[in-house]
C-alpha cells in the first residue's frame, strides 16, 4: 500500500519539477512584459530535440546539452526582437495570438529540420532504477529534482542580488517608473525572454530521457506549465514552483487512485476549483484594477 503511494509520489514530484520550471518561464516573461508566452512549451521541445540533434552530430553529452540550451536561448531572443518588440502596444489577445503563431513556427521548423519521429535521449546516469521502500525511482528523476532545486535558488539569488535581476523586478512592478529610473527596459525584456527560453530548454532536456521527445512534445508540457504559473499566481516565481509541484503530485495521485484516463484533467479541474475561490491564484496578489 505504502509502496504504491510512494511510487505515485515519485512520479508526481518528477512531473511537478518539470512543470515548475516551465511555469517559472511563464512567470519571468509575464513579469517583464505582461505577455503570456504560448510558445513556452516549444522552448521545452527545442531543448529536448536540440540535444538529440547535437548528440547526432557526434558531440559529447555535456556539450550537446549546452549547445541545445544556447540554441533555444537564441530563439527566445529572436521571439522578443522579431515578434514581441515590433508589436508593442497591441492588445493582450493580439499578443497571445502572436505567441501562438510563434509556437506553430517553431514546431514547423523542428518538423522540417529534425523530422517528425520520436527520439530517446540517453539518461544522464543510467537506467538502473533505485529501490526505496518497495517503490522505484529512476536516477534521471533525481537529476530533474536536483537541477530544479538548484535553478530555483540560483534564480532567487539572481532576482534578489544582481543588478539585472533587480531591474527585471522593477520593470515588472512599474514599467514607466523603471524607465524614468534609467533602467534599460528594452534590455530587460530581451534578457527575460532569453532567460525563460533557457529555463524551458533545461526542463525539456531533463525530462526527455524519461518521456521521449518529438516536435510536438512541448504542447502539453506548455499547458501544464501555464497551469502551474496561474495556480501559484501569475508573476509569482515561487508560486509557480509550488503550483508545478501541486499539479504534478495531484496528477500522479489522480492517475493512481482515480482513473488513469482522467489524469490530464486533474490539473485543469484543480485550477478551476482554485480560481473559483481565489481568482488570482493561490499566492497571487489581489490588487485593485485601475480605471
Amino acid at each position: 500500500m505504502f509502496a504504491e503511494f510512494l511510487q505515485f509520489l515519485f512520479s508526481g514530484i518528477t512531473l511537478g519539477a518539470t512543470y515548475a520550471l516551465v511555469g517559472l518561464g511563464f512567470s519571468i516573461i509575464y513579469n517583464a512584459s505582461h505577455v503570456i508566452n504560448f510558445a513556452q512549451g516549444e522552448f521545452v521541445m527545442l531543448g529536448g530535440m536540440g540535444t538529440v540533434f547535437f548528440l547526432g552530430l557526434g558531440l559529447p553529452m555535456p556539450i550537446a546539452i549546452l549547445a541545445a540550451i544556447a540554441l533555444t536561448t537564441l530563439f527566445g531572443f529572436g521571439l522578443e526582437k522579431l515578434a514581441i518588440a515590433p508589436a508593442r502596444g497591441a492588445s493582450v489577445v493580439t499578443l497571445i495570438i502572436i505567441t501562438i503563431g510563434a509556437s506553430i513556427v517553431m514546431r514547423g521548423l523542428a518538423q522540417v529540420f529534425w523530422g517528425k519521429e520520436f527520439h530517446a535521449v540517453p539518461a544522464f546516469s543510467g537506467d538502473e532504477p533505485i529501490n526505496i521502500a518497495g517503490a522505484t525511482i529512476l536516477p534521471q528523476s533525481l537529476w530533474v529534482l536536483g537541477v530544479t532545486v538548484l535553478l530555483v535558488f540560483a534564480l532567487r539569488y539572481f532576482f534578489d542580488k544582481t543588478m539585472m535581476g533587480k531591474a527585471i523586478i522593477a520593470t515588472s512592478l512599474n514599467r514607466d517608473a523603471a524607465l524614468l529610473m534609467g533602467i534599460n527596459v528594452k534590455l530587460v525584456l530581451f534578457i527575460s525572454f532569453g532567460l525563460s527560453a533557457a529555463l524551458g530548454a533545461i526542463a525539456g532536456i531533463l525530462v526527455a530521457p524519461i518521456t521521449l521527445t518529438n516536435f510536438e512534445a512541448g504542447i502539453m508540457l506548455g499547458l501544464k506549465g501555464f497551469c502551474a504559473a496561474i495556480l501559484g499566481g501569475l508573476g509569482n516565481g515561487m508560486g509557480a514552483v509550488a503550483g508545478g509541484m501541486i499539479v504534478g503530485i495531484a496528477e500522479a495521485m489522480g492517475a493512481g487512485y482515480w482513473v488513469s484516463e482522467y489524469k490530464d484533467a486533474v490539473a485543469f479541474i484543480l485550477i478551476l476549483l482554485v480560481l473559483f475561490f481565489k481568482p488570482s491564484g493561490l499566492f497571487g496578489k489581489t490588487g485593485t484594477e485601475r480605471v
Binding site: I96, I97, I104, A265
Partner: protein, 311 residues
C-alpha cells in the same frame, strides 16, 4: 451618424447575400462546396465568439468545447437514444446554454489571463471527457451520425448554411446596435467605469457568454448532421484556439471581420497543402506577420487605411 451605421449594416448584408448567391458559379466540385460550407459553419461560431471577445472584451480559449457539446449532444441523442435530429439539436443547445450559464458567473469574475486559463481548462476538461467516455462517444476515433433525411444533397446544405450565416450576421449587428450592445461596449471600455454609472456588467457578460455558447452548440449540431461524423478534436484545445485566431485575424469587434477571418483561415490550410512539410511553418508565419503588422486584424486595419486615404 445613425444613418451611416444603418446603411453600412444593410450594405454589408446585401454584399454578403450577393457573394453567397454568386459563389456557386465558381464552385466546380463537391470538395469546393465542402470548403464553402465549412467556412459558413466557422463564420457563424466566430460571429458568436466575436460578440464575447470583441464586444464583451472577454477572452475564451475554450469555445471549441461548446461546439463539441452541440455536436456530441446531437450525435448521442440521435444515434444512442434514437431521437429526432432536430429535437436533439435543440436539447443539446439548451443543455449547452444551461451549462454556460452555470459556469459563466464564477468564470467571468476572473480577469485577463486568469479568465483565459479558466476557459482553456474548461474546454480541455470537456474534451478529455469526450475522449474518455468511449462507450458513449466512440472515444478518440469519433462516431458516425446519420444525417438529416430532408437535406439530401450538398447543395441544400450550401443554401441552408448561407441562410444561417446571413441570419447570424443580421442578429449580431442588431444586438450590437441595441441598448445591450451599448452596455457591452461600455463593459469593454472599462468595466469599473461601467459599473460606476450603473451598468450591471456581470449580467451582460453572462448573457453574451451564453449566447455565444448557444451559437457554437447549434453550429456543432448542424456540422455533425452535415459531415455524418464527429471526432473529439472538435472540442479540443486547437479548435478553440483556431476559433479565437479567426476572430482576431479578421478583426475584433467587427462582425464582418469574423466572417472574413473564418473564410481566410478555413481556406488557407487547404491552399497550403502543396507545401507538405512546410505547411505549418508557413501558416504560422502568415499568422504572426499579420498580427504584428495589422494588430487590430484585417478588416479594421484595412478600413482604417481606407479612411486615411479619404482624407
Amino acid at each position: 451618424m445613425m444613418m451611416n451605421l444603418k446603411s453600412a449594416k444593410t450594405g454589408g448584408i446585401l454584399v454578403l447575400c450577393a457573394v453567397i448567391a454568386i459563389l456557386p458559379a465558381f464552385l466546380s466540385n463537391a470538395f469546393q462546396y465542402e470548403i464553402a460550407i465549412l467556412i459558413g459553419f466557422n463564420a457563424i461560431v466566430c460571429i458568436g465568439l466575436n460578440l464575447l471577445i470583441g464586444y464583451g472584451g472577454q477572452i475564451s480559449l475554450g469555445h471549441g468545447a461548446f461546439v463539441g457539446l452541440g455536436a456530441y449532444g446531437s450525435a448521442i441523442l440521435t444515434m444512442n437514444q434514437g431521437w429526432d435530429p432536430l429535437l436533439s439539436m435543440v436539447i443539446a443547445a439548451i443543455f449547452t446554454g444551461i451549462l454556460a450559464f452555470v459556469i459563466a458567473r464564477p468564470i467571468l469574475k476572473l480577469k485577463g489571463h486568469y479568465l483565459a486559463m479558466a476557459t482553456l481548462g474548461m474546454g480541455i476538461i470537456i474534451s478529455i471527457v469526450i475522449n474518455t467516455e468511449d462507450q458513449l462517444t466512440g472515444g478518440p476515433d469519433g462516431m458516425y451520425v446519420d444525417g438529416l433525411s430532408f437535406m439530401a444533397t450538398q447543395i441544400y446544405w450550401y443554401w441552408l448554411v448561407g441562410a444561417l450565416l446571413v441570419f447570424s450576421v443580421w442578429a449580431s449587428l442588431n444586438l450590437i446596435h441595441s441598448p445591450i450592445g451599448r452596455a457591452l461596449r461600455a463593459v469593454h471600455g472599462s468595466e469599473v467605469a461601467a459599473e460606476v454609472v450603473g451598468v450591471d456588467t456581470t449580467q451582460y457578460k453572462v448573457l453574451i457568454f451564453v449566447v455565444s455558447a448557444v451559437f457554437a452548440s447549434i453550429v456543432g449540431s448542424f456540422g455533425v448532421y452535415y459531415s455524418n461524423f464527429v471526432t473529439p478534436d472538435i472540442a479540443g484545445f486547437f479548435h478553440s484556439i483556431e476559433l479565437v485566431v479567426m476572430v482576431v485575424f479578421g478583426g475584433m469587434a467587427s462582425t464582418f471581420g469574423a466572417v472574413i477571418g473564418a473564410a481566410i483561415l478555413t481556406t488557407l490550410p487547404q491552399f497550403l497543402t502543396f507545401l507538405h512539410d512546410y505547411e505549418h511553418l508557413v501558416f504560422g508565419l502568415i499568422l504572426m506577420l499579420t498580427m504584428i503588422f495589422l494588430p487590430k486584424g484585417l478588416v479594421p486595419s484595412i478600413a482604417g487605411l481606407l479612411k486615411k486615404g479619404d482624407k
